[in-house]
C-alpha cells in the first residue's frame, strides 16, 4: 500500500520528520537530563576519605520479599527489620554464648527452674516511654499466644511465673528446666506492650531499637531514620536505612552492582558468581545457617516405611553437585542438619551419607526393590525447582522414578502442616543454628510428637524431651545430642542435603554489619566509609 500512494510530491522535507522524531527523543531524554540518576542515586555524600567509622549516610538494603507485619513474632522469610526497630534481651556470639542486650546480666537458679534477669535502665521506646520489666513480661506472654505463631512458643510456654523486683529486675519461673531459654531471648523482640495490635497490623511499630520506622509502603519497602535517643551512646552511625523490595533476582543483583543498594541477603546462589566478579562488592557467609534444604520422606507410604529404602535415598543424592550447581557453591553439603557452629556438629555426622549410587542400589536391592515410582512435591519457585530436578535425576540413576509435583508455596505449606505430603517432598527448614534441642522441639518437620513424615518412636521422644530439659553443657548434653543425631541419620525421615547460611552481599565501603541467629539485621555499628 505504501508504494501505491507514496508519490514524491507528497513526501515531506527531511527537517519535518526529524523534528517529529526529535520530540520523542526529547521526552526520552527528560529523565536522563534530570539532576539525579536513579542508577547512582544512593551514593553516600562525599566525605573525607578515611578508614574509621563515620557518621551519616543512608544505607539501602535490597530485599526480595516485603515485610509481613502479621508475622512480626514468627520467624518468617524477611526478619531483617526486627533488630533495627526493636531489641532482644540477649544475643549470641559466634560460639553460641549469650551477650547482653536489653538484659545486662542473668543468673540461673541451682535447680534450673528459674532465672533472674537484670535489665538495662535508661532505655526508652521511640515514643519516649521508658522500658521496664513489664515490657519483658508482656513479650514472653505475647509469644505464648498461639496467634503469634512463634516457633519458640514451647519455650515461652515453659515460663509460668513472673516476679518483678523493681522496674529493672525480673525473675522468670519455669515449669521445667529448658536449655534453650537464650534461644528465646535471641528470638523475642521486645515490643511496646500498648500498641502490639497496631504493630501486627503494620500501623505503628514502636521499639527501643537504633532506628525508627518512618514509612512502610506495602510491596515497595520500608524507610527508617536514626533513633537519636538510642541507648548505645553515639550509635548508630547511619542517618537512615531504606529497604527496597526487588522480587526479581536479576533486578536485585543489578541494583547492587549499580550501587542503588549496598546490602542484600537475598542474592540467589546461582548469581553469586557474578557478584564475585564485581570489584565493588564483597560476599560474606554466615556459617550459622538460617536454613537447610532437605528431602522429606513420608514414612507411612510403602515402601518408604522401610528405613533401608529411606537410607538408600540418602546415599543416592549428590549433595555436592546440588551445592555447586544450584546454590553457587555457598553452603555445606551435609547429612545432618547442624551447621559447623552448632554444638551438635560433627564431621562424621556430616559425611555419614555421601554420594554413593552403588551402595544405594545395593540397599534398595536388599530391601527387595529394583524399581520404584514415587511422587515428589516441591515449591514451584526457580531455585526449589532446580533442587527437585537434581534430586529426581540422581534418584533415577538408582532406579527410583520420581514424578515432580510443583506446588505453590501456600499449598506446600498447607500440606506440610496438615501432614498431607506425598511419598517425598523437598523443602527447607530452619532452627538448626541455635541450641540443638530447639530443632526437635520447635521445628515442625523434626517434632517428636507430630511431624509431616509421620515418624514416631518412643526412643526419639524420650531423647528429645530429655535433651530439652538437660543443661546445655556437660557430658550428658553431648551424649543426648549425639543420640538425636544418630536417630535422625538412622531413621532418615528427614534427609538433610545442604545447609545454607545467610550469604551477605555488600558494597565494600560498608562495614560493621552483623546478623543474629534468626536473621535480624544489626546495624548498630555499621557505617559507610567515605
Amino acid at each position: 500500500m505504501t508504494e501505491l500512494y507514496s508519490t514524491p510530491s507528497t513526501a515531506l522535507s527531511r527537517r519535518t520528520t526529524l523534528r517529529a522524531a526529535g520530540g520523542g527523543t526529547l521526552l526520552l531524554g527528560l529523565g536522563l537530563a534530570g539532576c539525579r540518576s536513579a542508577v547512582s542515586e544512593a551514593e553516600a555524600p562525599a566525605g573525607k576519605a578515611g578508614t574509621g567509622p563515620r557518621r551519616g549516610g543512608t544505607l539501602t538494603v535490597a530485599v526480595n520479599s516485603d515485610f509481613t507485619p502479621s508475622l512480626l513474632f514468627a520467624q518468617s522469610g524477611q526478619s531483617l527489620q526486627h533488630r533495627l526497630i526493636y531489641n532482644t534481651l540477649t544475643r549470641y556470639d559466634d560460639r553460641l554464648r549469650p551477650q547482653p542486650e536489653l538484659a545486662t546480666s542473668w543468673e540461673y537458679a541451682q535447680d534450673g527452674r528459674s532465672i533472674t534477669l537484670k535489665l538495662r535502665s535508661g532505655v526508652t521506646y521511640h515514643d519516649g516511654r521508658p522500658f521496664t520489666a513489664d515490657d519483658v513480661i508482656f513479650a514472653v506472654k505475647n509469644l505464648q499466644n498461639p496467634l503469634r505463631a512463634a516457633q519458640l512458643r514451647a519455650t515461652a510456654a515453659a515460663v509460668t511465673g513472673f516476679e518483678k523486683r523493681g522496674d529493672h529486675e525480673l525473675v522468670l519461673r519455669l515449669a521445667h528446666p529448658v536449655n534453650n531459654l537464650f534461644d528465646l531471648f535471641e528470638f523475642m523482640i521486645v515490643t511496646d506492650r500498648h500498641s502490639v495490635e497496631d504493630a501486627v497490623a503494620g500501623k505503628k511499630l514502636n521499639g527501643t531499637g537504633p532506628f525508627k520506622l518512618t514509612k512502610w509502603s506495602p510491596g515497595t519497602g520500608l524507610r527508617f531514620t536514626r533513633n537519636e535517643k538510642y541507648w548505645q551512646p553515639d550509635r548508630p552511625y547511619l542517618d537512615g536505612v531504606e529497604f527496597r523490595v526487588v522480587p526479581q533476582a536479576d533486578a536485585l543483583l543489578s541494583s547492587l552492582r549499580t550501587g542503588q543498594s549496598q546490602l542484600s541477603f537475598s542474592v540467589p546462589g546461582k548469581n553469586l558468581a557474578v557478584v564475585a566478579s564485581t570489584p565493588d562488592l564483597a560476599i560474606s557467609e554466615y556459617t550459622t545457617g538460617g536454613g537447610a534444604f532437605y528431602l522429606g520422606v513420608n514414612t507411612t507410604v510403602a515402601p518408604l516405611n522401610d528405613k533401608t529404602v529411606r537410607q538408600a535415598l540418602a546415599w543416592a543424592v549428590d549433595r555436592e553437585r546440588i551445592l555447586k550447581q544450584v546454590l553457587g557453591g555457598y553452603g555445606l553439603a551435609s547429612a545432618t542438619p547442624w551447621p559447623k557452629s552448632s554444638p551438635a556438629f560433627s564431621e562424621t555426622g556430616r559425611t555419614h551419607y555421601t554420594y554413593d549410587p552403588g551402595k544405594a542400589r545395593e540397599l534398595l536391592k536388599s530391601a527387595g526393590h529394583s524399581r520404584l515410582d514415587l511422587p515428589l512435591l516441591h515449591i514451584n519457585l526457580p531455585g526449589d525447582t532446580a533442587v527437585a530436578e537434581a534430586i529426581q535425576y540422581d534418584l533415577k540413576q538408582i532406579g527410583v522414578q520420581v514424578t515432580l509435583r510443583p506446588t505453590d508455596p501456600a499449598t506446600a505449606q498447607k500440606n506440610l502442616i496438615a501432614q498431607k505430603m506425598p511419598g517425598l517432598w523437598a523443602m527447607s527448614h530452619g532452627f538448626a543454628q541455635v541450641q540443638p534441642s530447639t530443632l526437635a522441639v520447635s521445628a515442625y518437620p523434626f517434632n517428636e510428637a507430630k511431624n509431616t513424615s509421620k515418624f514416631r518412636s518412643a526412643a526419639y521422644t524420650k531423647v528429645v524431651r530429655e535433651a530439652w530439659t538437660t543443661p546445655e553443657t556437660g557430658a550428658r548434653a553431648n551424649t543426648l545430642r549425639q543420640q538425636i543425631t544418630d536417630t535422625l541419620l538412622d531413621e532418615a525421615f528427614i534427609i538433610d542435603l545442604v545447609i545454607r547460611g545467610a550469604v551477605q552481599v555488600a558494597a565494600k565501603k560498608l562495614h560493621g554489619v552483623t546478623l543474629n541467629k534468626f536473621s535480624y539485621l544489626n546495624l548498630d555499628d555499621a557505617y559507610l566509609a567515605g
Binding site: T17, G31, A38, A149, R244, A412, H429
Partner: protein, 314 residues
C-alpha cells in the same frame, strides 16, 4: 438510549453477582489457606488452627460470603489477612502505580505511534519506510516478556543507564520516578504504539491520496503544510477512537509488565495476595477488575449501538 441502558443493567448486575461467587469460591477451591501461610514452615497444627479461628475461617462458607459482601456494601474493605495493612490502602496504592504506568505507556504510544505513522507514510527514503515497517511488525508480534528481558539486558545490565526494576512514585520524586518508569512504560507501550502507527499511516496515506490534496499539490502547496493542515486532521479521528480502545489493552497488559519490572501495581498485588492466599485482597481486587470490565463493555456496546443501527439486542 436510556431504555437500552436499563435493559442492559440487570444482566450487568448478574455478571457482578456471579463474579463475586466465583471470586469467593475460586480461592477456597485452591488448596492452601492464609492461616497456613501465616503459620510458617516450622509451625505446629495448633498454631495454624488458632490463626484460622482468628481470621474467621472456621465460620460456615455462606456466613463468610455474606460477611464479605456486607463489608463491601458498607464501604469498609477491612484489613488484609496476610500482606498487612488495610485492603483499601493496598488496592489504592496498587491502582496508583498501575495508572501511572499506564499513563506513561500511553505517552509512549502517542509519541512512538505518531513517529511510526508519519515516518512510515511520508518518508521519501525506502530504507526508513522499510525499517519502520519492520519495527512495527516486530513490536506487535514479540511478547512483552521477551522485549522486557531484552530491555533489561540492554539498558540495565549492559549499559547500566536505567534501573532494571522497582518504582519511585512520580509525584514524590519526579526526576527519579521518570527513570524507573521509562523501561516498563516502553515495554508496555510497544504493541499498542505499533497498532496506532499502522492506523495513522494508513489514514495519512488515504488522506494524501484524496483528490483535493492532489490538486493542492499540483497548485504548489508545500508538502509539510499539506501534512499538518490536511492529511493529519483527516487521519486523526479514527486514531483517537483506537487510542481509547488501546488504553484498555494497556491496563490489561500492565499485569505482566509489572511482574517483569517489579512495578508494585495491581498485578503485583494480585500475585502477592494470591500466593499468600490473602482472601479479602484477592476477592476485592477481582471484583474491582470485573466491575471495570463490565463498565467498559457497557460503554463500548453503547457507542457501537449508537454508531451502527444494525446492531440491536432485542
Amino acid at each position: 438510549m436510556r431504555g437500552y441502558l436499563l435493559r442492559r443493567l440487570p444482566s450487568a448486575l448478574l455478571v457482578l453477582l456471579v463474579a463475586s461467587f466465583v471470586a469467593f469460591a475460586l480461592l477456597r477451591l485452591v488448596p492452601g489457606d492464609p492461616a497456613a501461610v501465616l503459620a510458617g514452615p516450622d509451625a505446629s497444627p495448633e498454631t495454624e488452627a488458632a490463626i484460622r479461628t482468628r481470621l474467621g475461617l472456621d465460620a460456615p462458607l455462606h456466613t463468610q460470603y455474606l460477611q464479605w459482601i456486607g463489608d463491601l456494601l458498607t464501604g469498609d474493605l477491612g484489613p488484609s489477612y496476610a500482606i498487612g495493612g488495610q485492603t483499601a490502602d493496598l488496592i489504592a496504592d496498587g491502582l496508583g502505580a498501575t495508572v501511572e504506568l499506564t499513563l506513561g505507556a500511553l505517552l509512549f504510544v502517542v509519541v512512538l505511534g505518531a513517529a511510526f505513522g508519519i515516518l512510515g507514510a511520508t518518508s521519501r527514503n525506502r530504507w526508513v519506510r522499510g525499517t519502520v515497517r519492520a519495527l512495527t511488525t516486530a513490536a506487535l508480534a514479540v511478547p512483552p516478556f521477551v522485549t522486557g528481558v531484552l530491555l533489561v539486558l540492554l539498558f540495565a545490565v549492559l549499559l547500566g543507564a536505567l534501573p532494571p526494576g522497582g518504582r519511585v512514585p512520580l509525584l514524590t520524586a519526579p526526576d527519579l520516578g521518570v527513570q524507573y518508569l521509562l523501561l516498563p512504560a516502553l515495554c508496555l507501550a510497544l504493541p499498542s504504539a505499533a497498532v496506532l502507527g499502522r492506523y495513522l499511516k494508513d489514514g495519512i496515506e488515504r488522506a494524501l491520496a484524496e483528490d483535493y490534496v492532489r490538486t493542492a499539490t499540483a497548485a504548489g502547496v508545500a508538502p509539510r503544510r499539506l501534512l499538518w493542515r490536511h492529511a493529519l486532521p483527516n487521519a486523526l479521528p479514527p486514531v483517537v477512537t483506537l487510542l481509547g480502545m488501546q488504553t484498555g489493552h494497556l491496563l490489561g497488559g500492565a499485569v505482566l509488565v509489572e511482574a517483569i519490572f517489579a512495578w508494585p501495581g495491581l498485578g503485583q498485588l494480585a500475585e502477592q495476595a494470591l500466593v499468600r492466599r490473602d482472601y479479602p485482597v484477592v476477592q476485592d481486587l477481582l471484583l474491582l477488575l470485573v466491575t471495570v470490565f463490565v463498565l467498559v463493555q457497557l460503554l463500548t456496546d453503547l457507542v457501537h449501538a449508537r454508531l451502527d443501527p444494525r446492531i440491536r439486542w432485542e
